[in-house]
Every structure is written in structure tokens, then in C-alpha cells.
């Protein structure tokens, strides 16, 4: 048993979803890049909220409302500390990464981006970091530019620098690619974007579960992530933004909680972060997310990264020993997300057969069709690893792939 397994030895027991058979087989859950399983620690926190303090927040003077408000705001503080943001009010709760990016596209877009202004993304972005900018382009006449990737699956740094110019208003890129596993040099890309006078949005959906994030050290202007990929509930996410920018940006949703006073003549908006949180928030989700980040802190990113690096190396070795398997993307610096193809077997057929063997992988374009187009494929199979995976999962994956090859022999 490897050291990494020892460090995270008890982790599997904390994820009740792992304790089941799928089609009569042990479950090898290798789809954490789509969504992570939830530990009891998080599930209990959500249940505790609904069981004991189910009340609306920021409104009631009654006991339950005060408890719920305190728990919700404590979760915000947990997120702040996790990201090392300067202020808790720089943490906006959203429904997820997609919602966070759309908020920036609408609000920052309205404030800063006009006809002919440029938004730069990379070729490896998830659709959620492409389509909001296309919508903004339609509204404003802005230009969407794309920094290409190399065949390894790294951002082409020279092309990235060449794409930056005085019209670039925003550079939006992922910290970790959901399709290729590439780890981008966020601080360096941010520095280059800033030097060109652009603001920076970081899609940290795949990064927060696997690596520490310090928004002040990175100096990014916005950072988005989802709760459900970091062992928290679905339907909750975060937009971090620098105070000065968020202060200047207009709200995009109107409603309760985001106002100070309303008359039919004039409405005064509430202060940050409430200005961007119209309507009743996903209170239990935020509380669950706070707990999920505490859980991650408890394990420690050092242990998480060590565990994942061991699994990744072993998985790459094991997969490359399979005849007819081709890796899609071989980035220099990567996390535990592996896209691959098997000769003569379409990824969807592979996914179905793997599922019958208890192995959960993703098959498809991973909401990153431009990446698929780069490699000239319609789809790939993707195995992604998390803290609860172990070497048995890799063995089961390899055996299941061999079974598929037998069927398609």
C-alpha cells in the first residue's frame, strides 16, 4: 500500500455513496470531475440545517432565523479564509461556476465591455467559460478571441501573449482543464493579462478540489467555483471578486435581500455581497459548502495532492500498458483527469460496458467541444480521480477496459 493510501486510509468510509454495488459489482467511481461524492460531514450539516434551523436568513428576528443567518455567514467566512480573500463580502454565493461566470459576463460586461473590446479565453475552456462571452458579444459587439492550445494540451503561451492587446478587457481561463487535466500557470497568465491592462477571471471549478487557491497571491480579479465538485452540495457556488470591481458593478438580478429601500420611484441597492444575492439563497447549500471546505482543510491539500499524484502516475502507467489505448492530451503539469480513446470502441460503448463492470467514467465531449475539435474527435472517455479513489479502482478500470476490448474483439 502506498503512503498516499495510508494518509487517506479512512477517507472512503466517510463517503456513504461508495458503499454500494453497481450491477452487482464494487463501485469504482471515476467521475469526480463531473461531480464529487459527498462525505457524511457535509450530508450531516445539510440535514442539520433542515432539521434544526430551517429558517430564512437576513430577515427574521426570531431565534431560528438568527441561527440560520449565523451559519450562512459563517460559511461565507469559511470560503473567504479558504481562498484567502481580503474580505468576506468579496464572496458572492451563486448557484455554481456557470452562474458565477454569467454574473461577471452580465455585470462586468455592462460596466466595462463595449463594441470592439476584446475578451480572451483559451481553447481548453468548458462551455460555461465560452458561451457567456458569446452572449455578451451578441449584446455588445465585443470580440471573443481564443488562445490556442498545443497538441500536448497546454496553453500556447506565445499565442496567449500575442492575443493580448490594448483592447483586451477581460481574460477568462480555467485553472485546471476538465477535459485534459492540464494545470494552468494561473499567476503567470494573470500577470501577463494585467500587464496588458485586462481584468482576469479564473474558472477554478476543477482546481478548488485539488489544489490550494490564494486569490491575493494569484491577484486574479474574479474566481469562480462550484460546491458540488469539492464534496459540497449541488446548486451552490461562489464568485470571488475584488471589492473595488464588485462595488462598481451593477446588480444583475433584482429582488429581495439585494436592496436597502424600495419605492416605485427609486430603489437603493444593498451593500456587498447582498447586492448580487437577490432572493432567498441556497442556505443549506452554502452551509454544506462551508463544511465541505472545512473537510478539505482537515485532510490538507498536501495529503490530497500527494494522494492524487500517486494515483495519477499509477493510472497513467496502467492505462498506457493497454494496447490500443491512446491518451488525449499529455500536458506537462496535470491533475487526476485522464481523457483517452480505445481503438475500435466508441467512448459511449466503452462507458456502457465499464458501467456494467461497476466503473463510472464520463464519455462524451465533457462540455469542451473546442478541445474535442482540436484533437479531431467527437468524444473521449474520461476517468477522473479524487481523494476516495485507490489502486483497486485503477485495477478495476483496466480490467473493465480489457473486457470491453474482448467484447469488441
Amino acid at each position: 500500500m502506498s503512503k498516499a493510501d495510508t494518509t487517506l486510509l479512512d477517507v472512503r468510509a466517510q463517503f456513504p455513496c461508495l458503499d454500494q454495488k453497481v450491477h452487482g459489482k464494487r463501485l469504482a467511481y471515476l467521475d469526480s470531475a463531473a461531480t464529487a461524492l459527498k462525505p457524511v460531514y457535509v450530508i450531516d450539516a445539510v440535514a442539520h440545517h433542515y432539521t434544526n434551523e430551517s429558517a430564512n436568513i437576513h430577515r427574521g428576528v426570531h431565534h431560528l432565523s438568527e441561527k440560520a443567518t449565523a451559519a450562512f455567514e459563517a460559511a461565507r467566512e469559511t470560503v473567504r479564509a479558504h481562498l484567502n480573500a481580503a474580505h468576506a463580502h468579496e464572496v458572492i454565493f451563486t448557484s455554481g461556476t456557470t452562474d458565477s461566470i454569467n454574473l461577471v459576463a452580465q455585470s462586468f460586461g455592462q460596466l466595462e465591455i463595449g463594441k470592439g473590446d476584446e475578451i480572451l479565453v483559451t481553447e481548453m475552456e468548458h462551455h460555461s467559460n465560452i458561451v457567456p462571452w458569446q452572449l455578451l458579444r451578441e449584446r455588445t459587439g465585443a470580440v471573443l478571441r481564443v488562445a490556442p492550445i498545443t497538441d500536448n494540451g497546454d496553453v500556447d503561451r506565445e499565442a496567449f501573449r500575442a492575443a493580448l492587446n490594448e483592447r483586451t478587457k477581460l481574460v477568462a481561463f480555467t485553472a485546471v482543464s476538465n477535459a485534459l487535466g492540464t494545470v494552468n500557470p494561473v499567476a503567470e497568465l494573470t500577470r501577463e493579462a494585467h500587464a496588458a491592462g485586462a481584468s482576469v477571471l479564473v474558472d477554478a471549478a476543477q482546481a478548488v478540489p485539488v489544489q490550494p487557491i490564494d486569490v491575493q497571491a494569484l491577484d486574479c480579479d474574479f474566481l469562480a467555483f462550484s460546491g458540488h465538485k469539492v464534496f459540497g452540495p449541488t446548486g451552490i457556488g461562489v464568485l470571488y471578486g475584488k471589492e473595488g470591481l464588485l462595488e462598481a458593478m451593477p446588480p444583475v438580478k433584482g429582488g429581495g435581500d439585494m436592496i436597502l429601500s424600495v419605492t416605485f420611484e427609486k430603489t437603493t441597492y444593498n451593500a456587498l455581497p447582498h447586492k448580487f444575492e437577490a432572493g432567498t439563497a441556497h442556505i443549506a447549500g452554502a452551509i454544506g459548502l462551508g463544511r465541505a471546505l472545512e473537510f478539505v482543510r482537515g485532510l490538507g491539500y498536501g495529503a490530497i495532492e500527494a494522494h492524487e499524484a500517486t494515483l495519477l502516475a499509477d493510472a497513467l502507467n496502467a492505462l498506457q500498458s493497454i494496447d490500443g489505448l491512446k491518451l488525449v492530451g499529455t500536458p506537462a503539469n496535470r491533475k487526476g483527469i485522464i481523457s483517452f480513446l480505445i481503438d475500435g470502441i466508441h467512448p459511449h460503448d466503452l462507458g456502457t460496458i465499464l458501467d456494467q463492470e461497476g466503473v463510472a467514467v464520463r464519455a462524451g465531449h465533457h462540455c469542451a467541444q473546442p478541445v474535442m475539435q482540436h484533437y479531431g474527435v467527437a468524444a473521449t472517455a474520461r476517468a477522473s480521480f479524487s481523494i476516495y479513489n485507490n489502486h483497486d479502482d485503477i485495477d478495476q478500470l483496466v480490467a473493465a477496459i480489457r473486457k470491453a476490448q474482448e467484447i469488441f474483439r
Binding site: 470502441i345 466508441h346 459511449h348 456502457t352 460496458i353 473486457k403
Partner: protein, 149 residues
């Protein structure tokens, strides 16, 4: 026999490896696209009907999973000589078979297509099996794109 073996029967593997009626004809009277944007499956089906409305030629080309390719290949083989009303009836029978385990479809009518009789156990794959059936129906109805998601 495992569920995987049950799904990927020899006739399905055979037709996915060596699809029949594959290629773009010189001419046709009806044509439509079968597309699943979520999978990336993409096909074109071509039909030639005579004046009585009977299918005289049928072919397809494109790319996708074994299920969608084999289903299209097996389907087109059976459409030759069928009146377009019979094609619609066959669509209904096949649709019933792949979606409804309790249906009372006539397996004889489906011939080799009965290989797909167990696919209702794989709900995420039903759309693969039915993709080009929608394309054929759309082609006959004068529409040009079929999509299953």
C-alpha cells in the same frame, strides 16, 4: 451472459464494424441528418422512393457509437421494398421495443432488429438506437434534421 454481452450481440457488433448500405448515393429522393449533439453522433440517411411511395434504395454515412451505427445499418436493410406507411409502422414497433419492456411488439416483424430488444435496460443508450429512425421519419416527412438528446 453478462448484460454487456447481451447488449453487444454479434449481429450488432457485425453491423457496427461492417455497416451495410453505407455510403452516399448518386441521387436520392429523401434525405435527413441524424444528430446527437451530446454524443457527437452524426449521420446522414438517404432514401429513394418510387412513385408509389415504396423505398427502392436506402443508405447512410456518418460516425457514432456501435449502437447507433448498427441500428441504422440493420434498419435500412429492412426498409427496402417497404411502403412509407409501413416504414412509419415499423418505426412505432421498434420505438415500442426499445422503450417499453411490457410492450406487445411483434418480434417477427422486426427480424434482426430484435437484437435491440434488451436496450430498454440501458436508458442512456436508447437514444443511440433510435437516432437514425428519427432521421428516416423526418426525411419522409420532409424535415432535414433529427436530433436526440
Amino acid at each position: 451472459m453478462s448484460a454487456s454481452d447481451d447488449l453487444y450481440q454479434e449481429v450488432i457488433l457485425d453491423h457496427s464494424r461492417n455497416p451495410r448500405r453505407y455510403g452516399c448515393p448518386l441521387d436520392h429522393t429523401h434525405c435527413a441528418e441524424g444528430k446527437n449533439p451530446l454524443c457527437g453522433d452524426e449521420y446522414q440517411v438517404y432514401l429513394t422512393l418510387d412513385e408509389e411511395g415504396v423505398v427502392r434504395d436506402a443508405s447512410f454515412e456518418g460516425a457514432g457509437c456501435a449502437i447507433s451505427k448498427a441500428s441504422t445499418s440493420l434498419m435500412l436493410e429492412q426498409l427496402i421494398g417497404k411502403h412509407h406507411e409501413e416504414v412509419h409502422a415499423l418505426f412505432e414497433t421498434f420505438h415500442d421495443m426499445v422503450t417499453n419492456p411490457n410492450g406487445n411488439h411483434d418480434a417477427k416483424e422486426l427480424g434482426k432488429l430484435a437484437a435491440f430488444s434488451g436496450i430498454w435496460k440501458f436508458p442512456s443508450r436508447v437514444k443511440c438506437a433510435i437516432l437514425c429512425w428519427h432521421a428516416v421519419r423526418n426525411a419522409l416527412d420532409g424535415k432535414t434534421t433529427a436530433s436526440t438528446e
